[in-house]
Amino acid sequence: MNNLFVFCELDEGRPADVSLELLTRGRSLANTLGCRLEAVILGSGLDGIENELYPYGVDVVHVGDDPVLEHYRTMPYTSVITGLFRQEQPQIALMGATSTGRDLGPRVSSALHSGLTADCTSLEIGDHYVKKTDTTYKNLLYQIRPAFGGNIIATIINPDHRPQMATVREGVMKRETVNKNYRGELKKIDVAAFIRPEDLAVEIIERHMEARKVDIKSAQIIVSGGYGVGSKENFALLYELASVLGGEVAASRAAVDAGYAGHERQVGQTGVTVRPKLYIACGISGQIQHTAGMNQSGKIIAINNDPMAPINSIADYVITGDVAEVVPKLIKYYKANAR
């Protein structure tokens, strides 16, 4: 009872990266709390899936294996998860801030009347003192996220309601196994006991899932563009530089919103978190929502017209100038000097 739960998603039949990242973080939080780490995974034909989760230090894997759960649907998944949580009373429940997690999380939190914080960039354990009632809440989950225009970092807590729920984007937490021989306990969920007939009202007619085309998360060199790149044409220069350097192109949210790049390339709080060897930020001002997703890069080059752009303060090299002028020069001198 009162353990830390991670809702694990499947990605083409395997546990999704974001879920394994959350298990990694969940393990260390559970160690701090002195509680167990439990995983929940739902789907169909999941024989042996628990063995892929145990190495992350998972003490209990709850498996809900039923044809009705083959593809994610809001209502049956919500009924199973809320039913299980009512039974198990987790103190903390984490899920990926994915299409699935962002659909399921709020529905579950509403059903259980518990608070949910979206898109956390950091999760910690700490206490909270309320002066008015002279009460100290021990060992709360600090749900930390940039808020409101990126001017602030907010720490959100849920003192009185359980589970304390949070979603986290892919790539924010590091993924690390504890021990490949770690063995937990398998618990099968009695799916039929939780699902009501009306949960099946929404039917899936068609699904077209695409394999991941762009993987900026594992790129060693990233050439990233912001709104300051100015046009889709100028963005083509970034692709050229990335291809010459053997890297990938990424973008800030403003550039994605402006249609310069697809969402799958977005770096930042509401995109992907990356840790490349080299991050070249072109025409990116550097709001916290963006820097939260790239400030752990090995080296950062900022190319910006504005000598006062916030990105400059975290950059190793600041080039004050036009993206359209600087990027072709980088290409030219790389070609001239590289062996």
């Binding site: 608070g115 602030i152 695409e210 550097g286 916290i288 090995g298 790389y334």
Partner: protein, 287 residues
């Protein structure tokens, strides 16, 4: 689906593209009064979906529902100019400081009073990006939800909805009543209609009317009323609203201070760029 009643959930949001340093109050809530306020973009996509259904079938009504300060009546007028039939403003001091759960509690009560067949809202609001209120309203109503919609149409009595997911597209079929949240990838909302602007230009809530001078009101014909509801109108329990009704609390707000690295400053001159490239090659960052 002739004769159905649609409620569109909309929010007036601070334009987060224009945020100044005084945007936050000391208690960690947003100081809305100093920010330009706009119709939340994805709620406009939602309104467009509702208006398309209205055009296609007989006797469909579209009601805009928003919760916020008196000023939020602006987006109801904006909706009326584009083709909504009427609007309801949920406004009360007791709503202030509500998190997503307390907000969805109030909205669900108002939806219940309006008794629609279909609720459509934007996927998320740009001031929080949480995407929680739509699903939470659906849960409070006990209705199915379909999120991230980009196209929808009726086949018989069921709505066929195409959803845009991170890695693909899914089409689902769902019965009414239900809640749909619409993605920014859905068609943009139509523009204001000049005839509707003339008709609704002076649509006002009661509170707005009290605040405006009698002369102005006398000159404003035709005068239309925008419904204004407080806590009593929806029968809400104030314990479940505002800060007290919100499970999530803001513990701490930190101003962002970026830790300055010692950065090397370069110009776009050829010699600067070339020496940078050489340095990166030498220390094996590239190449």
């Amino acid at each position: 689906m002739n004769g159905i009643k649609i409620v569109v959930l909309a929010k007036q949001v601070p334009d987060t593209r224009n945020v100044g340093p005084d945007a936050m109050k000391a208690d960690g809530t947003v100081n809305r009064s100093v920010l330009p306020a706009i119709f939340n973009p994805e709620d406009l996509n939602a309104l467009e979906q509702a208006l398309r259904i209205k055009e296609q079938y007989e006797g469909v009504t579209v009601t805009l529902l928003t919760m916020g300060p008196v000023r939020a009546a602006e987006i109801i007028r904006e909706g009326l100019y584009r083709g909504a039939d009427d609007g309801v403003l949920l406004t009360d001091r007791a709503f202030a400081g509500s998190d997503t759960l307390a907000t969805s509690y109030a909205l669900a009560l108002a939806v219940r009073r309006l008794a629609p067949d279909l609720v459509i809202g934007g996927r998320q609001a740009i001031d929080g990006d949480t995407a929680q209120v739509g699903p939470q309203v659906a849960e409070k109503l006990g209705w199915p939800q379909v999120t991230y919609a980009e196209e929808m149409h009726f086949e018989g009595e069921r709505l066929i909805i195409r959803r845009r997911l991170e890695r693909g597209v899914e089409t689902v079929s769902a019965p009414l009543p239900m809640v749909v949240t619409v993605n920014g990838t859905a068609p943009a909302c139509r523009y204001r209609n000049a005839r509707l602007v003339m008709k609704y230009k002076y649509a006002r809530t009661d509170t707005e009317l009290q605040a405006e001078s009698a002369d102005y009101i006398a000159a404003s014909r035709p005068l239309m009323k925008i419904t204004e509801w407080g806590v009593d109108a929806i029968g809400a329990d104030t314990e479940q609203l505002g800060l007290s009704g919100s499970p999530t609390k803001v513990k701490e707000i930190e101003n962002v201070i970026l830790q300055s690295k010692e950065s090397r400053r370069l110009t776009s001159a050829d010699k600067d760029i070339e020496s940078l490239v050489r340095e990166l090659l030498e220390n094996h960052t590239i190449g």
